[in-house]
């Protein structure tokens, strides 16, 4: 097997890895403050991709507005929409469940997933619709010296990594982030210091959802846009989160990237195992380090 094939698969794996990283990052941020796992995260990712698709090619047909939202504006518009939806969900529904067992949050967001998935299945083909709006400037392939690689995919990798690390920087190294971490550590005390913790919670949930929406827009030109794209992905991301442990932001990012790589390489070595290798790794981690690679034992 040539190095070129392996490198190509590694890069493709990394490409998947950045989506894992962005989603598990969002899950970790939300989990830190709300203590719930957002099952609808996959649906938010799907929604992001669909907003990009609808904005580009269906505004006229559906709403009679003769206008198209291209790829670049979609990178802002879609996360904004998804984030606002997240805020609405948190304010109207999740808020009522904080006093209860955290599994109710998971169940609620599962219900929301079914609703969103069902809605889009009504209007779109389950097997997927291609996104036609990939910008001209990012089409074609790039010569990396040792191999050729699609320009858009490279852009998606670099862009996502920048977003992930920017998020990490904000949370770990800015004033805003320190307040957020205080809210995670001790909500009552933080509130007593005059910080508006409920507002922080709402915005954090919105931000986590927006990240998923952004990942969806980035994924749209690569994979075809389908109502089921999020559900299939989110279960893998759950395994990523179990492997990484939700204790640290950096852990969520790194384990996402690394597991994408592993999955990509498995496709070269033993293709049938590619869809399950992450789950098997999760089993190993549970056996030898139950708290997760970056998690803290409680």
């Amino acid at each position: 097997m040539s190095t070129q094939v392996i490198m190509a698969q590694a890069l493709l794996g990394l490409n998947v890895g950045v989506f894992y990283a962005m989603l598990s990052l969002g899950l970790a941020v939300i989990f830190g403050l709300l203590n719930i796992i957002n099952f609808a995260h996959g649906a938010m990712y799907m929604l992001g991709a669909f907003i990009a698709l609808i904005g580009y090619s269906m505004l006229e047909e559906w709403f009679g507005i003769s206008m198209e939202i291209g790829f670049w504006p979609s990178l802002i518009v879609a996360p904004l929409f998804v984030g606002i939806l997240g805020v609405i969900i948190e304010r109207t529904m999740l808020k009522r469940l904080y006093e209860l067992d955290h599994i109710y949050g998971l169940l609620l967001t599962f219900g929301i997933t079914l609703i969103l998935q069902g809605l889009f299945s009504n209007y779109f083909n389950v097997s997927g619709t291609p996104y036609p709006g990939q910008p001209e400037s990012l089409s074609g392939v790039l010569n990396l010296g040792f191999m050729y690689f699609p320009t858009y995919r490279l852009f998606a990798i670099v862009f996502s990594i920048v977003v992930c690390f920017a998020t990490w920087y904000v949370i770990e190294h800015t004033r805003l982030g320190s307040r957020l971490r205080a809210g995670v550590e001790n909500p009552q005390l933080t509130q007593a210091f005059g910080l508006n913790v409920p507002l922080m919670i709402t915005l954090t949930f919105g931000f986590g959802c927006a990240l998923a929406g952004l990942a969806g827009v980035l994924a749209a030109p690569i994979y075809s846009v389908s109502p089921l794209m999020g559900a299939d992905l989110i279960i893998v991301v759950f395994a990523v989160v179990v492997i990484g442990g939700m204790g640290s932001i950096m852990g969520a990012i790194l384990s996402g990237l690394a597991l994408g790589l592993v999955e990509g390489l498995t496709k070269v070595i033993y293709p049938p195992a590619a869809s399950t290798v992450i789950f098997f790794l999760m089993v190993l981690v549970l056996l030898f380090r139950p708290a997760g690679l970056f998690g803290k034992e409680k």
């Binding site: 219900g111 997933t113 079914l114 609703i115 069902g118 009504n122 179990v242 399950t276 789950f279």
Partner: protein, 305 residues
């Protein structure tokens, strides 16, 4: 309790007479899901463990039962027992891994593990991939009772359902069940009282997995077909919904819930994807405002008197 006695009688009478005023195969389907939901409820309702991967036991048992009956010529009862036994082994493995983490992690781990089974069902040579395992003969019970007659088959399924239901009922109403509920209420206290919490959790998990397997195995014989959807995470979600609608942590709740959700999906069959939207909406409403479920509310009304 008064309400429980009434529900026992209603269940027995309805179960015995159902095939005379409803389509037997449909009622058998409901019975399989009812047993599945009862098995799930044993974990979530009585130990407080949310398994998001119960479809794995339900689906895997269906495949194994179908395979041993079709390829090895096992008689139906032995085939069903083999399927349930396989789910038991699977339950030991999954349970051992999943109880290492608590709460939400437990749910995520069971979901991820179940996904392994789903992909195996999709890829292994004997499962028929996306078409599922088809053409499973119903055969003859004890060698002389022909199960191809739908009325005979119905009472066979009802007997299996009652057996499974009684096993779960006895588990809940035993000293063992009391310890499980103590773990649900306060795990740390149960531990400090000297109970080996992990062992109790694992045992409950295995019983639940076996009963879920029993339900799935029976379903395969009823429909003569082991479907890939049985192992899909959406089936895990459906069983949660049934339990929630009927009443979490009540003995009869899952049965009522399976009846309600099963009939609803059946009635709405012509609406296509809207079914999912409606089920999702019911999910949200149940979680937000109707957490006791149907039987839970009934119990509350009766105990007020």
């Amino acid at each position: 309790m008064m309400i429980n006695r009434i529900l026992w009688i209603v269940m027995l009478v309805a179960g015995l007479t159902a095939p005379f005023f409803a389509y037997p195969v449909f009622v058998m389907d409901l019975l399989c899901f009812a047993l599945f939901a009862c098995a799930f409820n044993l974990l979530l309702g009585y130990v407080g463990l949310l398994s998001f991967g119960h479809a794995a036991f339900f689906g895997a048992a269906a495949y194994i039962t179908g395979y041993v009956i079709k390829a090895w010529g096992f008689p139906p009862l032995l085939g069903i027992v083999t399927g349930a036994a396989f789910s038991m082994v699977l339950g030991v493995a999954f349970g051992y891994l999943a109880i290492r983490r608590q709460g939400i992690y437990f749910a995520m781990i069971t979901l991820a593990l179940a996904q392994i089974i789903y992909f195996m069902a999709l890829q292994m040579p004997f499962t028929g991939g996306e078409n599922g395992l088809q053409g499973i003969p119903r055969g003859e019970l004890f060698g002389f009772i022909n199960l191809n007659d739908s009325l005979t088959m119905y009472y066979f399924v009802f007997a299996i359902f009652l057996t499974g239901f009684c096993i779960i009922y006895r588990t809940i109403h035993s000293p063992f069940g009391e310890v499980l509920q103590a773990i649900r209420e306060n795990e740390a206290r149960a531990l400090s009282l000297g109970y080996d919490v992990d062992r109790f959790k694992l045992q409950a998990f295995v019983i639940s997995a076996t009963m879920a397997g029993l339900a799935g195995a029976t379903k395969a014989v009823v429909f003569q077909f082991a479907a890939l959807t049985n192992a899909h995470w959406q089936t895990s979600g459906e069983v949660i919904l049934m339990t929630l609608v009927g009443g979490l942590g009540t003995v009869f709740g899952p049965v009522v819930g399976a009846l309600a959700v099963g009939s609803l999906s059946h009635e709405l069959g012509s609406f296509g994807s809207w079914v999912q939207v409606i089920l999702g909406t019911i999910f949200v409403i149940c979680v937000l405002t109707f957490r006791r479920g149907i039987v839970g509310e009934l119990e509350r009304i009766f105990s007020k008197r």
